[in-house]
C-alpha cells in the first residue's frame, strides 16, 4: 500500500546571487512497512526532500501525496494538523522539550490531540517500554544520555500512530553503541509493528540496516536499491 508518492518534485531556492536547484525532478514511492534510507553527500538534497515529504517545506514543482492527500493543497493549519496525525519526526538533535520529562515529551502530541487520559497513559508506557526507557519515564532530558534522548524522540514520534516516521540523521550525534541500540529498536518496531521509517543519513550503520537505499546527488535520484533478505542488493 503506497503511503507516499513523490511526483516529479523540484525545489529551487532563489537567492539574490544564485539559484539553487536542491531537488531536481525526484520521483519516488514509499510503501507501508518500508525501512528506507536516503543517502548522499552533503548538499545532495536529502534533508530538503525529507522536509518536503514531511510537509515542512513545499516543492517548487511537482507534487507530494501522502496517504492520498496532496500536501500542497492543504492550508497551513490543516497541514499542521495533518502532520500531527500522520507523520512522526525524529530529528538529529533530539529536540525534546527540556522542561518536560520523558513521559511528558511522549504524551505531548497525544495531549494536542486530546486523547483520553487512560489511553494516553497506556500508550505512553507502552512506547517507553518498547524503547527500553520505562524506568526513566520521570527523568528530564538533561538527565538522559544522547542515546536515551533519541529513544524518547522515537517514542514521541510514534505516539500518535503516524503513517510513517521521518528520521533526519537520527544517529549523527550518538556514539556507535547508542546508534546500534537505537537502530535495533527502530528495526524491531518496523518488523514487529509494521511501522514505516524513512531515514536521511550519512551513517553506514543505517544504510546497512535499511532494506531500501535511495542515493541522491545534486538533487537527483541516482540509485534506488532494494535489498534482499540477506542484505545484498536485489
Amino acid at each position: 500500500m503506497k503511503i507516499v508518492e513523490i511526483k516529479d518534485v523540484h525545489k529551487i531556492y532563489n537567492s539574490s546571487e544564485v539559484q539553487v536547484h536542491a531537488v531536481n525532478g525526484v520521483n519516488l514511492e514509499f510503501e507501508k512497512g518500508e525501512f528506507a534510507a536516503i543517502v548522499g553527500p552533503s548538499g545532495s538534497g536529502k534533508t530538503t526532500l525529507l522536509n518536503m515529504i514531511g510537509g515542512l517545506d513545499m516543492p517548487t514543482g511537482g507534487e507530494i501525496v501522502v496517504d492520498h492527500t496532496n500536501l500542497a493543497g492543504l492550508k497551513s493549519s490543516r497541514l499542521i494538523d495533518f502532520r500531527m496525525r500522520n507523520i512522526g519526526f525524529v530529528f538529529q538533535s533530539y529536540n525534546l522539550i527540556p522542561v518536560l520529562t520523558a513521559r511528558e515529551n511522549v504524551e505531548f502530541i497525544m495531549n494536542l490531540q486530546k486523547w483520553p487520559r487512560r489511553e494516553r497513559d497506556s500508550r505512553t508506557f507502552e512506547l517507553l517500554e518498547a524503547v527500553g526507557l520505562k524506568d526513566r519515564a520521570n527523568s528530564r532530558p538533561s538527565k538522559l544520555s544522547g542515546g536515551q534522548q533519541q529513544r524518547v524522540a522515537v517514542a514521541r514520534a510514534l505516539a500518535s500512530k503516524p503513517k510513517f516516521v521521518l528520521a533526519d540523521e537520527p544517529t549523527a550525534n550518538l556514539d556507535s553503541k547508542s546508534s546500534e541500540n537505537l537502530l535495533d529498536i527502530m528495526e524491531q518496531l518496523n518488523r514487529e509493528e509494521g511501522i514505516t521509517f524513512i531515514f536521511s543519513t550519512h551513517d553506514q550503520r543505517v544504510v546497512k540496516k535499511a532494506r531500501r537505499v535511495i542515493t541522491l546527488e545534486d538533487g537527483k535520484v541516482i540509485s534506488d536499491v532494494w535489498k534482499k533478505k540477506n542484505g545484498s542488493p536485489a
Binding site: L56, S77, D81, F89, N95, F108, I109, L112, S160
Partner: protein, 461 residues
C-alpha cells in the same frame, strides 16, 4: 534564570510605582485631613464682600437664627462662630502681621482639632479660665516673636545626659551653658558649628527638643483697628502653642476668646464675621453648601473646595498624576516583557520549529507565548503588589519621616512625617492593567513566533 530576572524587574518596578503613589497619596490625604480638621473645616458662611477686605463692619445678621437653622440641617455636626480681625502681634523684640480670630472654645473644639495639637507644657487655652487675656498661637509665630527661645542650661544638659548623649557631645554643648539664643537660626548655626555631622544626624533632634524653651509668663500685644477705625489693643498671655506642621497657618493665626476680642473691637456679643460648619462626612459638602446657599441667600456660603481651591485642585491633579506615573511604569514593564519574549522566541527558534513540525498549530504557539508573557507579568506584578502592600502596611502605621525636608514641607503646609496609604480600588486597577500589559506585550513576540518557517527553524544551531 532570565525569567527570574524579568520577574524581579517587574516586582521592583511595580513596588516602586505603587509605593511612590502610596507616599504621595498619604501626603495628600494628610494635607486634606489637616486642612479640613485644623484650618478651614467644610463650609464657611460670611457676609457678602467680607472676604475681599475683611471689613470689621461686615458681620452676619440674625446670628442666633442663622446658627439655629444651620444646626438643624442634615449632615451638620457642629457650627463655630468667629470674629476675624487683621492686626499686629508684638513682643519686645519682634512683631508680625496676623489674623486675630475671636473664638468660642467649646464650639471651636467641635469643629476643629487644633486643640489636639497643643505642644505639651505650653498651657491649655481651651480649658483655662483666667482674668488675663489669653492667646493661642502657632509654634512658628512663637519662634518668630522670640516667645520660644533656645536655651542651653544645666537642666537641659542633665536631661540630655539621661538620654545617653555621649559625653564628648555634651562637653561641646556645655561650653555654651547659660546661653539664650536670640533666634532659632542662631541656635542652629551654633550647633552646626560645634557639632560634627554625625552628632547632628544622631542627636540633633533631641538637642533641639531639649533646648526648646517657653516661659508661661510669655506675653504679647495684639493691636488692630476697632469698628470705629480707632487703634486699639491689649496684652495677651500666651496660654498655649500649637504645632500643625503648617508654617503659613502658624505664622498668621492667633486665637483669642470671642468676648475679649468683641469687647476690644467694640462689637456686640452677637456680631461675628464667619460661621464655620463641620459635617459628619466631607462628601456631602457640595450638597449641604447648595442647601445653605438657598436658605441664606443674603450670605456668602462656600464649601472647602471654593475656600481653598488649590487643595481641591491638588487632589484632582494628583489622580491624573497617578495615572501618568503608572502608565510610565507599565510602559517600562511592557518594553521589558517584549524584549524578553523576543529573546525567548529567538533562543527557542529550533524548539518552536520542532513544535510546529510535530503538530502544534499556530493558535497554540501564539497562546503559549502569550501565556508565558502574562505569567511573567502576573507573577512579577503579584509579588510587587504583595511587597508594596506589606511595606505600605508597615509604613502606614509608623510613617516615614522626611526630616531633611521638614522645613520645606511645612512651608507648603504638608507634614514631613508621612503615612503612606492606598485604597483597594487602586490595587485592583493596577492588577488588571498588569494583566492587560502582559497580554498586549506578548502580541508582537507571538506574531514573530508564528512567522517562523519550521524547516528553517529546525536548521538553527
Amino acid at each position: 534564570m532570565r525569567s527570574l530576572v524579568v520577574i524581579i524587574s517587574v516586582t521592583i518596578g511595580i513596588f516602586g510605582g505603587v509605593f511612590a503613589v502610596a507616599v504621595i497619596n498619604g501626603a495628600i490625604e494628610q494635607r486634606l485631613d489637616d486642612a479640613l480638621g485644623n484650618e478651614i473645616s467644610h463650609i464657611h458662611l460670611n457676609a457678602p464682600g467680607f472676604r475681599d477686605n475683611f471689613d470689621i463692619q461686615l458681620t452676619i445678621p440674625d446670628l442666633e437664627k442663622v446658627m439655629g437653622k444651620i444646626g438643624e440641617t442634615e449632615h451638620v455636626k457642629a457650627v463655630a462662630p468667629r470674629i476675624i480681625i487683621t492686626g499686629m502681634a508684638n513682643t519686645a523684640t519682634k512683631s508680625a502681621g496676623v489674623q486675630i480670630l475671636g473664638i468660642d472654645p467649646a464650639s471651636e473644639e467641635e469643629v476643629f482639632n487644633l486643640h489636639a495639637h497643643t505642644i505639651p507644657g505650653t498651657g491649655d487655652f481651651f480649658e483655662t479660665e483666667s482674668r488675663h487675656n489669653l492667646a493661642y498661637i502657632g509654634e512658628d509665630l512663637a519662634k518668630e516673636l522670640n516667645i520660644i527661645r533656645f536655651v542651653i542650661d544645666d537642666g537641659m544638659l542633665a536631661g540630655l545626659a539621661e538620654k545617653q548623649i555621649p559625653p564628648e557631645t555634651l562637653e561641646k554643648l556645655s561650653g555654651y551653658a547659660g546661653h539664650r539664643f536670640r533666634s532659632e537660626d542662631d541656635f542652629e548655626k551654633k550647633i552646626k558649628e560645634i557639632l560634627t555631622r554625625k552628632e547632628l544626624d544622631e542627636y540633633g533632634r533631641m538637642i533641639r527638643e531639649a533646648a526648646w524653651s517657653f516661659s508661661e509668663r510669655s506675653r504679647m500685644t495684639l493691636t488692630f483697628l476697632d469698628r470705629n477705625q480707632v487703634q486699639t489693643g491689649a496684652v495677651f498671655r500666651i496660654a498655649g502653642i500649637y504645632d500643625i506642621k503648617n508654617s503659613a497657618f502658624e505664622m498668621s493665626r492667633v486665637l483669642v476668646r470671642k468676648e475679649v476680642l468683641a469687647n476690644l473691637a467694640d462689637l456686640t456679643e452677637n456680631e461675628v464675621h464667619r460661621l464655620i460648619v463641620r459635617l459628619d462626612d466631607a462628601d456631602f459638602s457640595g450638597e449641604v453648601t447648595s442647601l445653605l446657599s438657598e436658605n441664606f441667600s443674603d450670605l456668602e456660603v462656600l464649601e472647602w473646595k471654593e475656600i481653598q481651591p488649590d487643595l481641591a485642585y491638588t487632589t484632582s491633579l494628583v489622580t491624573q498624576f497617578y495615572a501618568v506615573f503608572m502608565a510610565i511604569i507599565l510602559a517600562a514593564l511592557a518594553f521589558g516583557i517584549v524584549n524578553t519574549m523576543l529573546m525567548v522566541v529567538l533562543e527557542r527558534t529550533k524548539e518552536l520549529g520542532m513544535l510546529t513540525a510535530i503538530g502544534m498549530n499556530k493558535k497554540r504557539v501564539f497562546s503559549m507565548i502569550m501565556l508565558e508573557s502574562v505569567f511573567l507579568s502576573l507573577v512579577g506584578g503579584a509579588v510587587g503588589m504583595a511587597v508594596s502592600r506589606v511595606v505600605i502596611l508597615l509604613t502606614s502605621a509608623r510613617g516615614i519621616r522626611f526630616s531633611s525636608f521638614e522645613e520645606g514641607f511645612e512651608a507648603m503646609g504638608y507634614a514631613s512625617h508621612i503615612y503612606p496609604s492606598i485604597n483597594a480600588g487602586f490595587f485592583i486597577t493596577v492588577t488588571i492593567l498588569i494583566i492587560v500589559t502582559g497580554i498586549l506585550s506578548s502580541i508582537y513576540p507571538a506574531l514573530k513566533a508564528l512567522k517562523l518557517d519550521p524547516a528553517e527553524a529546525l536548521r538553527t544551531e
